[in-house]
Each structure stands twice: as structure tokens, then as C-alpha cells.
Symmetry: D2
């Protein structure tokens, strides 16, 4: 099932209401000195990768409820990303997970991606599960393992993932390392860290010259007492040990309660070491909920730092953006549409912040004014701007409404059947 621009235009119907809204808002913003066209273009240029493992229903350790019409292979997954991109014009990339999505026919996979306007973003390795046929188990660790043979297997897997990525046009390897312990004393913290540093350096050493390495961190889960790469400080230290093309990746859900994530973002960008970003939302832990569904103001504050850094930190690379959520009770595609909207909304609002006025208020220690400036941007209803950005590219006025009126899920069920199960979590 592929959505043409005509399908979407039909679903959009009459645009008069939107045009009035956009006219009203853009006039107000222009009066405030905002370059609205440039802002809309920035929103339109912002492209977020969809992970290949997030197109089916997710679950918890307590079980999983099935969903219908899930993609049964990589080609179908890319087709799903294509649907999202057609509707939103902001999902023009896919992020693969190996071995769940190892291509069998590279040419076919690339062709489908091309047809859908999808590129291959960061590629992800997996050393937190045992795969059929692998020699050693990762039960007691992979890149951090004290057992040299297991560690070598995990390094080799990462190298293999890079070779797969090269064939698809990826330029970035993301390592999320689950290694850690569930009980005090189970492992020497110092040795686990030094093994991990050694492994990261080996992987980095094998990277093609135009590739980057992203090192993710997480405080807990699936290990419940310690994780080797537990926080940004540890990831930053490892990235520095590897070299110039190694960076930290921030996943919104991978923090202890009450963490100030925006400050972490600012710190890493100022040091030129923020390489990637995983979007999701959460209330309790790594809940992997729809972006913006719980703490949208925190997301806006994070985007404020990202916008500032993208403008003022030439030392920092372009970032790899990805959604990393789990779709346990919603249609995965609808869930992702909501996430994409929330990301664009936060980005657009952050772009509305008058950085000069903010800096002046900060230097003047006018705390009340600083808050007024941030809240002034945040309270603005930017939906007409997002619609404009989508419409400019041939996307949907209201993606979820279009998705439903075009009966996309019904079409997918028709093509794939009810009971396919997507690979992944």
C-alpha cells in the first residue's frame, strides 16, 4: 500500500480553514519579527528516522497484545515508513536493527526505500539477546564481558552491522549496550568499564572513515543493579577515549527520576559530543510512550537547547534523530504520527523563542522575563505552521485523520493478513 500525493490531497479536502489560521498566525508572528517562511522551512527540513522495530505492537514482560496488519518483513516495514513520510513529510529515514532486519535482497530493499523517499540512518547492533546459531551467550554480558571469546563475538557483530549498513548507505553505528549487573558484587565495575572501553575502541577502529559511532547510555533495565554505560558522563568518557567521530546519544527515556535532560544536551553540544537523539516520553522509567504525551514542556525545553546548539555550536555534528517508542496499545502507525507531530511542535515552538531578548533578560537577571519569553513561545498554537510545512511537501493537513479516512490500516490488513508479527521488541 503506497499513498500517492493525490490520495493525500483528496483526504485533505478544502484548505480554507487552514489558510485562514495560517494567515492569522503568520501575520502575528511577522509583527513580532519572526521570519515565518524560514521557520516553516526549518520544520519541513527536520527529518526523523523511524526504527524498523517499532512498526509492530510492543509489549512488556507481562505480555503483549497483538495488532493486525503488522509488517512481516523488512520491505513491508519500509513501506510503513513510507506511509508515515507521505503523510507527514518528516519521516524520511529508517533506522535498522540487526539481526532483526538483516536484508536478504539489498537491491530490492534499496529500491523500495527509494520509491518511498526513505534513506537509511543510523544502524543498530544487538548484543543483548542470544540469536539462534550464535556460539556464545550474552547472558553475562557482551562488550563488557570478562570472557574474551564472548567479547570478541560482540565486537565482530558490531563490525558486521557496519558492513551491512555500508551497503545501504548508512553512515552511523549506534551502540546501546545492555551490559550490567542485577546484583551487587556480580562484576567489577572497573573491569567492566575498561573492557567496554577496549571494545568500543576496537569497533571504532574498524569504522569506515566517513562513519560515526554513537554511544547510548541508560541507568537500568534490562539489568537492575547497574549498567556499564549508566549516564552521559560515562558515554562521554568512552566517546572521548574512542576519538573525534565518536559521540554520545541521548535517549529521553534513559534517565533517573527528575533528571535535567536539557542541561545534559547543552553540555554535550558545547563540547561537540552530542551525536544522536532518541525521542519518546515516559512517566515512570523507560516507558517508551508516545513523544510529547506526558511532558511536552520538557520536550520544548530540550528543543530550546538543541536549537541553540545547532545555531551556536559548530563543533557539534549534525544529529541523528530517531523515535524510540513502544506501541503497546495503539496502532503503531498512528502512535508514530502522534510522535512526529509532537516533535515538530516542540521544534517549531523552540524556534519561536526570541534568543536575543532571552539573552538580554538573562544578562539582566530578569528571571520573570526569561520565563515570560519561554512561555510566550510555548503558549503559541503552532499547528498552522506544521500544517503549512506538511502541505508544502504534499503531506496531509491532519495526518491521523487522513490515515483513518484513507483506511490505511484496513488496506495493510488486506495485503498482509491479520496475524503477521513484526520482528523486534
Amino acid at each position: 500500500m503506497q499513498l500517492t500525493k493525490q490520495h493525500i490531497a483528496d483526504a485533505n479536502g478544502n484548505l480554507k480553514g487552514h489558510q485562514a489560521d495560517y494567515y492569522y498566525l503568520s501575520q502575528k508572528l511577522i509583527d513580532q519579527g519572526v521570519d515565518v517562511d524560514a521557520l516553516v522551512q526549518k520544520v519541513a527540513d527536520f527529518q526523523v528516522a523511524i526504527p524498523s522495530w517499532a512498526l509492530g505492537a510492543g509489549g512488556t514482560r507481562f505480555g503483549r497484545f497483538s495488532f493486525h496488519g503488522e509488517p512481516g518483513n523488512l520491505e513491508q516495514k519500509i513501506g510503513d515508513v513510507g506511509i508515515l513520510h507521505a503523510l507527514t513529510q518528516t519521516a524520511g529515514a529508517v533506522s535498522l536493527h540487526i539481526p532483526w532486519d538483516t536484508p536478504t535482497d539489498y537491491a530490492a530493499v534499496k529500491q523500495i526505500a527509494d520509491q518511498n523517499g526513505i534513506v537509511f540512518d543510523a544502524i543498530n547492533s544487538n548484543t543483548f539477546q542470544d540469536q539462534p546459531g550464535t556460539k556464545h551467550s550474552y547472558k553475562h554480558g557482551s562488550l563488557a564481558n570478562s570472557d574474551e571469546a564472548i567479547r570478541a563475538q560482540a565486537v565482530a557483530h558490531n563490525n558486521e552491522v557496519v558492513r551491512i549498513g555500508e551497503k545501504l548507505g548508512s553512515k552511523t553505528l549506534t551502540i546501546w549496550l545492555a551490559d550490567g549487573t542485577s546484583f551487587p558484587g556480580q562484576r567489577s565495575f572497573q573491569k567492566a568499564l575498561s573492557q567496554t572501553e577496549k571494545s568500543c575502541k576496537e569497533i571504532y577502529g574498524e569504522l569506515p572513515q566517513d562513519w560515526s559511532l554513537l554511544i547510548e547510555y541508560k541507568p537500568y533495565e534490562p539489568n537492575f543493579y547497574s549498567t556499564v554505560i549508566m549516564d552521559w558522563g560515562t558515554s562521554f568518557m568512552l566517546a572521548n577515549a574512542c576519538g573525534d567521530r565518536a559521540y554520545t546519544l541521548v535517549d529521553l527515556g534513559h534517565h533517573l527520576p527528575n533528571s535535567n535532560i536539557e542541561q545534559v544536551v547543552a553540555t554535550l553540544m558545547s563540547k561537540g559530543k552530542l551525536g544522536g537523539f532518541h525521542f519518546n516520553d515516559s512517566k515512570y522509567g523507560d516507558d517508551d510512550l508516545t513523544v510529547g504525551s506526558i511532558k511536552p514542556y520538557a520536550l520544548f525545553l530540550i528543543f530550546n537547547e538543541l536549537v541553540y546548539g545547532m545555531a551556536n555550536n559548530p563543533q557539534n555534528p549534525d544529529l541523528a534523530w530517531m523515535i524510540d517508542a513502544s506501541h503497546n496499545i495503539k496502532d503503531p502507525l498512528e502512535d508514530l504520527l502522534q510522535s512526529l507531530e509532537a516533535i515538530q511542535e516542540a521544534y517549531a515552538k523552540a524556534l519561536l523563542i526570541d534568543q536575543k531578548a532571552l539573552e538580554a533578560a538573562q544578562l539582566n537577571h530578569d528571571v520573570v522575563k526569561c520565563q515570560e519569553i519561554l512561555q510566550g513561545a510555548y503558549r503559541t498554537d503552532v499547528r498552522p505552521l506544521l500544517q503549512k510545512a506538511r502541505l508544502n511537501g504534499g503531506g496531509a493537513l491532519n495526518p491521523i485523520e487522513a490515515y483513518r479516512s484513507l483506511k490505511v490500516r484496513e488496506g495493510l490488513i488486506g495485503e498482509r493478513g491479520k496475524h503477521t508479527v513484526a520482528t523486534g521488541l
Copy 2:
């Protein structure tokens, strides 16, 4: 310093921009079926009490930075509330704290309140500090104390507070009980709870027939291992033990990390036991920050439950609303203006939720739609509605701008001098 309607009208200046915004928004909302006039009226009718102890600079255990022109007595405090109310038309009540604000001349105090359109809302006792001249120390507890003489002194103080409140027209006593322990074993949990229940019943027994008792809860601070009334469950149990006119009071800052406060609100209202609400915001603990400055979406979700309960729970009483924040680095009056705006904003957005559509989506298990409905209301820029509500009552278009252009703080410093220090925390 008293702000007249003329002062404020002058500060408002030309209203054309507002009128255009209001017209645009109200037309859109009317098209969606919203009764905009009724909504504006509800916002205008919503009155929040200002606590008498929050008009000066607050501090932490690490110190306090002074602020200029603080009110030096109760009359000046009420004058400050009058300024807030004149500007916002939503702060028409004051909540006194005894003994910090015991009136010396009741007639004078009432006259000043009348002049400023301020009524006396819930009155607060203090048994967490020792006052000069009191016989017994509360170092080891007050209403929960095992020592009968100390407990009796604390009960008597509460009775005295009620008598003071009666003279001013209050109808509600709020008890925030700091009693607890800082070390395991320091006190029997069971005995502390039963003493507290006994004390609450005694206080309740002495209440005038038209008075209510509000019982606040808090997990920790100033005690750091346990607090006798630690959560809503404990408060609810005590309120039930007292009787029909005893209720739980929810303070937004008094919860463990990640608590779902909106669910607590819904639970208490369904049982007819939510009696009061203290507004503030926080990132880490009981930080007592400006309302809406950290988690505005959570505030909106809480107002969604409040709006639902006010419409559907006749068993629940009218609520006592109060701001309970600390103003450590902002001008206290500006800080309160920001809080009042945030409260009205959350209320107005909650009123925009289409409850019928929401219920239908809920019954249909359409989780995506439920979220769309909530976010649709939240993403609306309701500032023109709040302005309309203020202007209808003679308030300021933009309260902080008016406060600054009218040089209110400068006027207060002129009247009071720089170095007064308000009583309270």
C-alpha cells in the same frame, strides 16, 4: 499603594490587538461548539487565595536573599493581595497563617480587605515551629506527640486559630501537620497515627457548624524519615474518622517522584472528600516554584479532573483554592502574577475539552483519539480568553506588563522602605 481601574485602563492602552485575537479565537471555538461566553465567565469566577506568608522573599536552609518593599504587617500584605486582584481579577481572597498574621485590629484589617475586594479564605495553624512565649516545644511533635500536654497545647492553638478566623469571616481551617520522624524507630507509627486521629477529632469537635476542616498531607520535610500524614490515603482515613465536614487537601508539591496526582484528585472527588488545593510547581521535591513553570501539562491534566469533578460530583464540596509557593529569586508579586496566569490557562484549556467526545472515545477504546482530544484542547492558545475575563472585570490586559509600567514595586518601596521583612517562611 492601591491600583484603581483607571490606572489599569491606562496601562492597558489600545485593545485592538486583543480584540482581533479574541474574535479569531472565539469564532473558531464557537464553530467547534464551545459556549465561549460561558467559558470566559467560568474563568472570571475562578478565585484563588493568596497566602499571607508568600508576599515576601522566601529562602532555603542555605540562606535567603532579601527583596525590597516587602509588606511589614498584615494590612500591607492585604494591600499586596489587592494589587494582584486589581490586575488579575482572580485573586480575591487571602489565606492567613497564625501566629504570623494574627490581626491586632480586626476592624482595620477587614476594612482594608473590603476596600480591595478581598475575602478571608481558609485559615492556617502552625504547630511546626516554636513561638516565643509558648510553654511547650514542638521539637518532637505537636498533634501526634505522645506527651499529652504538648498535644493539648497544639489542639488549643488550632481552636484559637478558628476563633480568629471566625472574626474575619473564614469558614475553613487547614491543618498542615509537620509531625513525623527523621530516623527509623524514633516513634511508633501506630501510636503517632492514633494520637493524630484523636487530635483531629478534638479540633473537628470544636469547629463551628458552618466550618470545614482540611487535612493536608506530605511525604517528607521538615522530617526526613517519615511524616505522620504522609499521603492522600492517610489524610482520607483521618477525614473519614472526623466526619462529614472534614476533607483532604492536595498540595501539588507534596508527593513522591512520579506520583499521578490527577488520579488522586479524581479518587477524592468521587468520594466527596477533596476539600482544598494548593498550587505550585516543582522539579525535584517540594520546590514550591511558580505554578506551571515546570510541568504545565500535568497541571492541565489535573484541571481536567477538577473540571470533571466540579460538574459531576455533587457529593464533593466547593474547593478552597490557594497558591502555595516560595519566591526566592523573583519579585513575589510578579511570581504570583505568573502563577495566577498559569492556573487560569490550565483551567481554560481543561474547559475546552469536549467531554462527550472524550467519553465516546474512551468507551470505544480509541486511545489515539482520547489523546487527540486532550492535546487539541491543550494546544489551543487561550490567552485571549484570559485577557477577556480580566478585562471584563476591569483587570489588566497583561498583568506583568501593567505591574511594571505602573511601577508598582517602586511605589511599594517608596511607601515601605527597602528593608522591611515580611513574616513567614
Copy 3:
């Protein structure tokens, strides 16, 4: 594989070292006024149920690493509990989970239990997963569902579980209700609560007269925004609504960060409403780690309240004790042996607290002394007492050493093969 007393006696070997330790410690305690024999007897009498789902390897949503020799059916599970009981003399009960462990041959199951000295403790229903062949899905809730047919199915399942339990001699039904929401607005809190109350009452109404109902609470997971029975207050309210034989069940892992669980225990016991207890330990959330492996002092403080309540709260029923942990990286039986040891240790230390001296210090507000008394008990090395209690019953001096020297796991693998997978989580 069944461990005879002779097997264990052989593994114990020479007891001289133990006897010397026991003599030294018991003399010291007798000098302090402790009735050591009575204490040892209390420890010996303390029996903890093993849940039938915890005898195989557990996992997380990120995967599961297999373990060898897992029990493949209910009979083998009871055999595993028999091994634990033979070694420790403190695991004389099993807690079944339906439908994972629905007996096919009741007589055979009861016979095996009898042979192993195992009784059937509280029985558990499951309405958080869909089972093959059931008509309705619990994806959107069970006992709290707005859909009457689904709710009725869930109630009927609970009634069926009771009928199964009756045949085995159980007297208690435990409900852990996963119902909740993952997104704001997904469900009306008030309606979900009232549906749940209705369902609990229906189940309670069908209970045999000599049965009790235990209502568990949990703040989050598998739902990530709200859980209907989120805390002790909600469970307590529901238990009160049901009647005298309905109680709250406390699971150590089901609390928000920093919760004071011992205070919850004390509160519930003082009101006669603590019915059951699930042991585990955790650092971050519901990590389900080995009891006592992370916060043993907190466990001791909780036991202090349990000991106090068992002695002073005749209004509270006998408690149903159970371990509820997940064994992701340890041999499940060894993990349970460590948990059982930690429980007995905390209980024995709590029994050592001089309650009269503690009360005197509390009444005297001697906070330092209170702490000295608690720490004095806690710092005592009580292992000789636990050994004595085990040896008196024919158990192992050191259960894990005996388990290993008797090659129990190897025996189980020999009987069952490597690749059985136990039902359950």
C-alpha cells in the same frame, strides 16, 4: 528428585562449628534477656509460600536467557518447592497461578504436595494476559473494563480460580489487577475505579465463608500512565468496600521511589487490613530481585512493624507470606534460597529488638537511643539462630552449600532434560 533428611544430614557434615557459634550467641542474648529458644521457634514457624511461576528463569521485555532443568509441569514445580522446604524448613507452601498452573489431576497434585510437606497458600488469578480460547481480550482492561461482557468474563475467571483453590485447600484469593492506562485521557479514573469496586464486590460475594480476598496494588507497569489500584490507599478503600474478609496485600516492589513501606505496613495493621505480603527487592522499580539483596535494612524495618503488629494488633489477620521475585540470571532455586535466608534474617533481627526499651526511649524522645536499639539488633549476626531453626527441623546448615554439594540442579537436569521451559513470566 526428593531430598531426604539423610541426604541433608550428610551434606551438613560436622556441626561443631555451628554449635560453638550458637552457644556463643545464645549466651550473649540470654544475658540481654532474650528468650532464645522461643525466638528460634518463631523463626522455625515462619513459613513462606513459593509462587509456582517463579521456579523457572524470568526475563524482561528485552529477552530471556534460558536455564536448564526447569520444571515442566505443576507436579515438578511442587517438587522444586519440596526441595526448598527440605533444605530450609521455611518454604512449606506453594502459591498457584491460574491458568498457568491449573491442575489436571488434583489427587496427584495433592499427593505430591503432601509428600513434600507443602500446603496450598493464596491462589492467584490472571486477567492481565489473553489466554488461547478466551472470548474477550483484556487489552483494554478486565475488572475495570467499561465493557460489561469483558468485565463479567474477568469476574467469572476469579470465581473459577476460587473453585480450583477450594479443591486444593487454599483459603485465600489474591487479585493483582494490571488494569490502568498508558496515556492521559485514555479512561475515566472515576469510572475505572467504580467498575473495579463493583467487580471486587462481586468476587467477594462469591467467596466461600472461610475464604479471604487480598487486593494488591502497584503504581505502574504493565500500564505506564496510571494503574487503577495504584497505592495502599486505593486498595484499602476497596477492601473496606468489600467487607471484613477483604484485605490489602503489600508487595515490596510496588511503590514509588523513596516510599516508606514500613509506615504503610504499620498503618494497615493498626486498621486490621494487612492480609498478605510479597517479598522481593529492587533498586529502581519493580525489579523483582532477590529479597534482601539491595536494601536489607529497609526489610528489617518492615519486619519490625510486622513483628509489632503480630504481637499487638489482634484485629489484623494472619498474613499470607510469599516471595514474588524474578530469576533472570541466577538458578531460580538458589535465588529462592537466598531470599528465604534474607527473610528469616530480617525476622530474627526484628525479634531481637527490645520493644520495651524502645518504647521507653520513644516516650523519652531519646532519638539517639531509639536508633541504638534498632541498630543493636540489626548489627547482631543472627546466622547461628537461623541454622539452629533449620537444623531443628532437619534442614540444611547452609542451604546453598548443601544444594550444590548434593548436585540438585544436575539431578533435575538429568530427570527433566535441559530445555524444558516453565510456564509463567
Copy 4:
């Protein structure tokens, strides 16, 4: 009031009970291969500094309850430390806070310290409060301030503190920087960090060659939205920017909920960057409770890493140990005695861990055995070892009992009067 060895020996009375306990325990440990004499010597050699601000009653923002006989000047404070050291033989250092404890007569202060066997450990600056007579206010920051004059004043204060410390024999400056923000947008994270780095380098540049700089971190309080040096990663980055003699200081209470502090300790020691340690305990936040009163097992796990690092990380310097607690409801001296006991206990238990056996179990992935080894050490009652270490130096068998029987507090009240108030928090 000075305690002589004779006073203490009298208070100790008959040592037969201790000797029997020590004999029993040491024989057991010798059988396990422990060099008991060496262990006792290590415990005896471990010296912890007492901060000069912790000898009076502390409080919270809600108030402070007075205590009697507090030291009224620096000489009396050192006298109090002398009492602690005489009783425990483990408190042979004091850590001063400037300007609270700026000496007026250096010779006299040094003489009193000498008489009491007290040396001057790390010295602390204060730029989180305004002092009478200083030109600029730190309300909006000190070392991180955007205002150059304020920043320079804060740097100069630190330089001045070093000059004071030089006269007393200190070799270490500790910076705890409260700078941060209470509201989003209040300050540029990037600029605050770079200003702080600049200030730290300036201070470091002025340090004498034999001095070290310790940089403390803290996530929140007194600022409630962000702190410039928020975590170990930020402190580590700053220490690296300064140079070889700049290190991170870990305060147990300065972490987000659920932090794995022992892993932070291990990481810093492996990189040679852990310079100091502040002991306290907490349940909710920076509660500053008695060491070991809430989470003694976590303290033991931290000491396990410290012991490992002290033995295996020659790249790491000797650490500055200090207690940093607040004494709100206990006699400060008794509270510190309890803290000192808890520190020694955790250290002694950590020394009991069989590191070779632990490493073997780790390499063998024997998670159960690892836990057994740690718990085996932890469950040992080491009090006789601590007593032995104290008695060897002429200290008290039971410090608190001696303190009480010698009527130390009564003596201090006699000398100082009831109503002195110590400087500090």
C-alpha cells in the same frame, strides 16, 4: 571540657565482655584467613574530618529547634572535635568553613587543635550566601555569574580561603558551588558552564603547588531547576580542565533518586579523579541524616569500591574524608558519634570481603556466590573489631555510653551556657 584517657578508661570499666567477644570473632576470622591485626590497624588509621559547621543544631527552611551548650566560637568547635576524637580515635581532623570560622588568633587555634590531636583537613569556601560587608550579592550566582565583577569577587574569596588554610596546615580546597537556576530559561546552561570552568581554572591557578582542588557536585538545592555542577560527569569534566591536582568530591546525599553511587566511586577511582568524600545518609533527597541510619548496605557497597580502589588504583590520590550531616533533633555530638561508628563499621565489613574469592566468582559468572561473599562479610558483627581499634588508641569501648556517663553535654552547658548558637547552617 577535655576528656583525658583516664576519664575514658574509667567510663569503659571492665573490658572482659569485650575481650571475650573479640577473641571469639578474631578466631573465626583468622580461621577464614583474615589478618585481624592488620584489619584493626586499618580501621584505627582511618580518620574522618568533622566539619566546623556541624557542631550545632541544624534546621530546615521551616525552622530550627535550639540545642544547649553549642560551641560559640572556633576554639570551642575544635574542642568539640577533640571530644569526638578522644572517644572514637577516628575523628582526628576538622574541616573549616570560611567565613563562618575564620580564625582571629591563628596561634591559639592551632594550639587547641594540637592539644586535641586534631589536624586541619580540606577547607571550604562559601559563595552561596551574602555576607555583611561584601560588595556584590550572589543571589544570581557566583563562580558561574555572567557579571564579571561578581565572578571575580567569588574567585577572590576562594583565593582568600586558601591563604587562611595555608596558615593552618590545610592542603586542600573544597568548592561546593550552589550556582544554578530555579526556572527554565533563567540562564544559558552553556555560558554558566564555561564561566564556571574559567573560574575553577583561575582558582586552581592560584593554588599552592602542594594543594589540591576538590569540586563537589549536587543535582538540586538551593536551586530547584538546575545546578551548574549537577553530577559527577560535570565535576569530572571540570577537574580534567583544571589539571592533575583537581579532583571530584562525592557527597552521598547529592544524587538523584536510585543513583548507583558505588559505580560512580569506582569510575572516578579508576580514572584517578576521586579526591574527597562527604558522608551522610538520606531517604528522600539531601536529607543530611546520620551516616548509616537509612541505607547501611549501600554504604558498605560504596566502601567495597573504596577499599578496592585504595588497594588497586595508585593513580588515585589519598582521599579527604568528611562527615557532612545536619543535626536537627539529636545532640550533634551524639549524632556524630553514631556516624563515626557507622563509617568504621562499613569500612571494616568491606575489608572482610575476600577479594580473591570474589574475583574468582565474578570471572566464573557465579552470581549467587558473588552475593554470598558480599553478604557473608556484611552479616558479620564487627563491633568487637571497632572496639578493639578504639581501645588500642585509648578511646571508648562504647562512645555514646561513655559520652553520657561522663556527662559531657552537661559539662559543655556548664561552660558555655544554654543559649549559644553555633555559626553555620
